[in-house]
Symmetry: C2
Subunit: 185 residues, 2 copies
C-alpha cells in the first residue's frame, strides 16, 4: 500500500558557485556572517524539517555527519535514516540502516509504502542518480553568501535537462537564500 502523498526532496546547502564541500571538508563556511535586513529569522527551514519522516543519504555523507556529530550533535535526531552503500561500514548508529540495491526498488517498494516526506541529504552523486531516474520530486537549495572557488560541485554536469517549477524563495537574515523547486516529470 502506498501512502496518500509521497514526496522525496533533495536538500543541499551550497555556496553561490554551487560547491557543497571544500577540498579539506572543513565546514566553517556554513557559519556565515552576513546580515540581510529584509530576511526572515532563523537559519533553517525548521517547519519543513519537522515533516521529514525518513532521511536517506550516501555513505560518505553519513560518515561526515558522524564525524561532525562529535562537535555539533547528530543532525537527524531519532528519524529513521537509510544509508545507501555497497561498502562495509564499521559502525551503525541507532535508527540507521544500510541499503544496497536498486534505487527504484528502494523508492517504490520501501519508501512509498512507509513514509510521506523523505529527504535526501547527500551526496551529490546520489542526488544526480535520483534526478536521472526521475525519483526525486523536489529540490531545496540553501545558498550561502560565499564563493568557495574550489571543491565538490553539487550539480556536476548531471547530463539530463529537466524543467523545474519554482515553489518558493526565502531569504534569511544571515544572507542564506532558500530556493525551492518542484522537478517536473
Amino acid at each position: 500500500m502506498t501512502t496518500d502523498s509521497f514526496k522525496l526532496t533533495i536538500h543541499m546547502v551550497m555556496s553561490l558557485d554551487g560547491i557543497i564541500a571544500k577540498p579539506d571538508n572543513s565546514v566553517e563556511w556554513f557559519e556565515t556572517v552576513d546580515i540581510y535586513e529584509k530576511g526572515v529569522s532563523g537559519q533553517n527551514p525548521e517547519d519543513f524539517l519537522k515533516t521529514i519522516d525518513c532521511y536517506i543519504m550516501g555513505s560518505r555523507t553519513y560518515e561526515h555527519a558522524q564525524e561532525l556529530s562529535k562537535n555539533y550533535g547528530w543532525p537527524y535526531g531519532t528519524t529513521p535514516t537509510i544509508v545507501l552503500t555497497s561498502r562495509n561500514l564499521p559502525e551503525k548508529r541507532k535508527n540507521v540502516e544500510y541499503y544496497n540495491g536498486s534505487l527504484n526498488q528502494l523508492v517504490n517498494e520501501r519508501l512509498k509504502t512507509t513514509y510521506r516526506n523523505v529527504l535526501l541529504a547527500g551526496g551529490a552523486d546520489l542526488a544526480r542518480d535520483f534526478i536521472r531516474l526521475k525519483l526525486a520530486d523536489e529540490i531545496r537549495l540553501s545558498v550561502l553568501p560565499i564563493l568557495l572557488g574550489e571543491g565538490k560541485l553539487f550539480f556536476d554536469h548531471i547530463g539530463k535537462e529537466n524543467a523545474l517549477h519554482l515553489k518558493d524563495v526565502t531569504a534569511y537574515k544571515n544572507g542564506m537564500v532558500e530556493l525551492w523547486y518542484e522537478i517536473k516529470k
Copy 2:
C-alpha cells in the same frame, strides 16, 4: 578624475545547475514557461539596466550577441560597449570599441574616470578574472527554473574564496530568481 560612485557589476543568466551556455549554444531555454504566482511581473531587472552607462564583455559573448541580434535585436542599445579581446574581430558595430590589455588599467584608468555603472555581460572566464583581481563590485545572477545538465559553467572553480553580502532577492512571475550580491573586499 574618478566619478563619485563607481560600480562594476557582473550579470549573468544561468540555469539552477550553474550553466550559462548549452553545448550547441541554443538559447530557447531562456524562454521559460514556469508560473510563480507570488512573483513580480516582468522578466528583467529593467530599472537596473537603465542605470548602466557602459557594457563590457568578452569577444565570444560579443559575437554571440551579434548572432542573436539578427533575430532578437541588439541588446545593448546605444550604450557604449567595450569588447575585451586579443583577437582580430572582423566587424565592429557602432558604439562598440575593442580593448586589448590589462584589466586593472581598463578599470582604473578608463572606466572609473568616465562611467558610474559598468556591467560585465560575459563570458564566464572574464568574470572569473574580474573576481580574482578584485575588480568586480557586485554580482547579479538571474537563475532560470531549469536544470540543463550539460554546458558551460558560470563559476567553474574560480579558485578563490570570497565572502559575499546579499543585497536583494527578487522572484519573477516566470519563475526566474534574481540573486544580487556585493562582493566583499
